[in-house]
């Protein structure tokens, strides 16, 4: 806005400008009251928004924490279970008994069951199951020796195992009531008492008689007086307008003019302003979910320690070495196999699928967290097979281990008696595959390019749990090797990686958008576990292209 004095104005313009430049008119005193009210509403809205933001942020953190925790628990629980299985001396078959109609509980003996005088474990049962069988009489318990009166139930610290113990030839099958009631009451219960307790505990939860006293929402809405909800009462502008109308009716202003004024105001009120629309969009689109598929190249960057085995040809006078017996040919082949591994190991394709939930921090930034699955592969072309032999002095026999490639036995010192490295006629492929579950946490920044298109860049980290690693050789003599998450694998079980990517996206609708762009993932540690990483190890990485689809929650139908 430039000063009109500097323009080539006519006299009319200059005169008008002089008259109106400093002219003043007194607004209605109520205008400030309305401004004050609007500002108070804004402050309140800001406060609510901030509170909502922190609540949602806390929820996002909690979800992330639960996801990470679940992944770790799943990972380590399997190890624990294997230990428990190993410690069990004689596994016994499980029996199933129908309980009170439709409930079924596994009867698994445990070490705690070896208690005298017929003590029984009270397994934890589903509340719903108990409720469904609340009126089950004690006859629903099947007794092997029904005349025995001293049926004792003992508190069992492992009630969560949901096991009913069989003891001393008795085949009792029972269901505990709510664990909170039964398991925390140390003492002795007869079967009849148990049934009574079960019924007493279960009935209130079934009938829900204590839930009385609450009015249904529909009734509560129905009893609100109309005077509280009429548009004239709720809307200050309409209220003011109504007042104006009544004043006008008593004055000289025609009624039709007042009606027109009201219609115009109603029209203006019903039309949302741009800021309202934008605010609504921001509110609704704070959460989003998305899926992405990335096709990449994976470089495992694994190096194996080169072990130089001294050949012993059995000539007298030569001091016997401590390693396995190898021939001169084997020693040479081993060196060539190492060189071949180094030269011929190549990056191969990897695929990564992930599902993420996003939480928008502000217009540009959002936090993403979720769960991903990736399968990374690498391959080597080799022409050497390693055979290892063990000598058993008891039966004076030599046993042959399964032939392998040079990769696995080289990760640790050869412990066999003799090693033979044979060169095949034709080279063959060895494929390495690593399947991982990932829990990514990323920050994404976005910006608009035109109306439909946008750019994005994201970066963050991920915890990657290796679920399965497989080594497959395209040679019939060599058996495939596969390691599960609980196996003693030479590969690191949990790895952390840094992820970064950028690209373009297009909004297909208000709720759905697609994205496309390069992505890079770098692992912070070697693929091999520390105890196997004797050679200098590189860090694996993937580089590829990511395609994603994104859905904004709360935007459907807009």
């Amino acid at each position: 806005m430039s000063s009109p004095d500097n323009k080539d104005y006519g006299d009319l313009e200059q005169a008008m400008w002089r008259r109106f430049q400093d002219a003043e008119a007194m607004p209605d005193p109520e205008v400030w009251s309305r401004i004050d009210h609007a500002l108070a509403m804004q402050d309140n809205e800001k406060y609510k928004k901030r509170a909502l933001f922190y609540r949602q942020l806390a929820a996002a953190c909690f979800i992330l924490f639960v996801l990470s925790g679940s992944a770790l628990v799943l990972h380590f629980k399997q190890d624990q279970e294997q230990e428990l299985l190993a410690s069990a001396e004689q596994p016994q078959p499980q029996t199933k008994a129908p309980i009170a109609g439709n409930a079924t509980i596994n009867s698994t003996p445990t070490t705690e069951a070896a208690q005298p005088s017929g003590n029984y474990t009270l397994p934890k049962a589903e509340e719903g199951t108990i409720a469904a069988n609340a009126q089950v009489p004690s006859t629903n318990y099947s007794y092997a020796e029904p005349e025995e009166e001293a049926t004792l139930f003992s508190r069992n610290s492992k009630a969560s195992n949901k096991s009913v113990q069989n003891n001393a030839g008795q085949n009792y099958t029972t269901v505990a009531a709510t664990t909170a009631t039964m398991a925390t009451q140390p003492g002795v219960y007869s079967a009849g008492q148990l049934a009574a307790t079960t019924a007493n505990n279960a009935v209130p939860s079934v009938t829900g008689s204590q839930v009385q006293g609450y009015m249904p929402a529909s009734q509560a809405i129905a009893v609100v007086p109309d005077t509280y909800t009429s548009p004239t009462v709720l809307n200050p502008l309409l209220r003011r307008n109504a007042t104006l109308g009544s004043i006008a009716a008593g004055g000289n202003v025609p009624e039709s003019a007042v009606q027109q004024k009201q219609d115009e105001l109603l029209l203006a009120l019903n039309k949302p302003t741009e800021s309202e629309t934008a605010e609504k969009a921001t509110k609704n689109s704070r959460w989003n979910v998305g899926m992405g598929v990335a096709s990449s190249y994976f470089t495992q960057n694994v190096d194996i320690p080169e072990q130089y085995l001294a050949a012993s040809d059995g000539r007298p006078g030569i001091m016997r070495h401590t390693g396995p017996i190898v021939s001169v040919e084997t020693a040479e082949n081993l060196v060539n196999a190492y060189k071949e591994f180094e030269d011929n190991t190549q990056a191969a394709n990897a695929i990564n699928v992930d599902a993420k939930a996003g939480f928008r921090l502000n217009k540009r930034f959002k936090v993403l967290a979720g769960l991903g699955y990736s399968k990374n592969t690498s391959k080597t072309r080799t022409s050497y097979i390693v055979e290892q032999f063990l000598f058993n002095p008891r039966n004076n026999e030599r046993s042959k281990l399964k032939p392998t490639t040079v990769f696995l036995p080289s990760l640790h010192t050869f412990t066999t008696d003799s090693v033979s490295v044979i060169k095949t006629k034709e080279p063959f492929n060895v494929d390495y595959s690593y399947q991982m579950l990932s829990v990514p946490l990323e920050v994404q920044v976005e910006g608009a390019i035109g109306q439909k298109w946008f750019w994005y860049a994201h970066g963050g980290g991920a915890a990657n749990v290796i679920m399965q690693s497989t080594i497959k050789a395209d040679n019939p003599e060599i058996a495939d090797v596969s390691y599960g998450p609980g196996d003693d694998s030479p590969f690191r079980k949990v790895q952390f990686s840094g992820n970064a990517g950028l690209g373009l996206g297009k909004r297909l609708t208000d709720a759905v958008s697609i994205s496309f762009g390069p992505e890079y993932r770098h692992f912070f540690s070697s693929l091999l576990a520390s105890e196997y990483a004797n050679a200098k190890q590189g860090k694996p990485y993937t580089i590829g292209v990511n395609m994603g689809i994104n859905y904004m929650l709360g935007q459907a139908g807009k």
Partner: protein, 192 residues
């Protein structure tokens, strides 16, 4: 009233108070500019009620965005700019700036002289308010606010040429109104 316009540090205090959301400082700023802004709004809005609505909406925007005030111009200019933009948006929302309103025919301009000082502010204001909305906007923006036709074209989403032609029509209509009032001839008059 003149306290804040003459003393920059006081004005800065006022702005800082408004940024902090202090209601007394907001009231002070409102009192400082409300009368002038009301007159601005009355030039744009067809009725006083609507002018008050624009004042209300404009000041709420002023307080919501005052942290963006760069202090590279007087605060009054910045407030006035927001009020004018609010008025344009308000009228656009009410579809008062559509072409259908621009059917006002320009009669032949009668010859004669007039002196604006002979007219009261209410008379001048009612003349401006009686213009068709689009003519009123262009006239206000060009003659009183000081925008050029290119800026007006961008603001009203019309071409520069359209702005010029609409302004010349508005000016002609206004001149006819002034001449038809039969005010006595005086010196220092404007001759067409």
């Amino acid at each position: 009233m003149k306290l804040f316009t003459s003393n920059k540090s006081e004005e800065e205090k006022l702005i800082d108070g408004c940024i902090a959301g202090k209601r007394d400082m907001q009231r002070l700023l409102y009192d400082l500019y409300a009368k002038k802004m009301m007159m601005v709004c009355m030039r744009y809005a067809p009725t006083t009620f609507e002018a008050e609505d624009i004042v209300q909406e404009g000041f709420v925007k002023v307080f919501a965005n005052i942290q963006n005030f760069k202090k590279d111009c007087p605060l009054e200019f910045w407030v006035r700019k927001i009020i004018v933009n609010t008025a344009l948006k308000y009228l656009r929302q009410k579809s008062l700036l559509t072409v259908s309103h621009e059917t006002e025919e320009v009669e032949n301009i009668s010859s004669g002289n007039y002196n604006l000082n002979d007219y009261s502010m209410d008379e001048l204001l009612s003349m401006i308010q009686s213009l068709a909305p689009r003519y009123r906007m262009v006239f206000n923006l060009y003659a009183i606010e000081g925008y050029n036709h290119k800026e007006i074209g961008e603001m009203l989403e019309i071409s520069e040429g359209t702005s010029k032609s609409q302004y010349s029509r508005a000016r002609a209509i206004l001149q006819n109104m002034l001449l038809s009032q039969d005010k006595p001839y005086q010196e220092n008059v404007i001759t067409r």
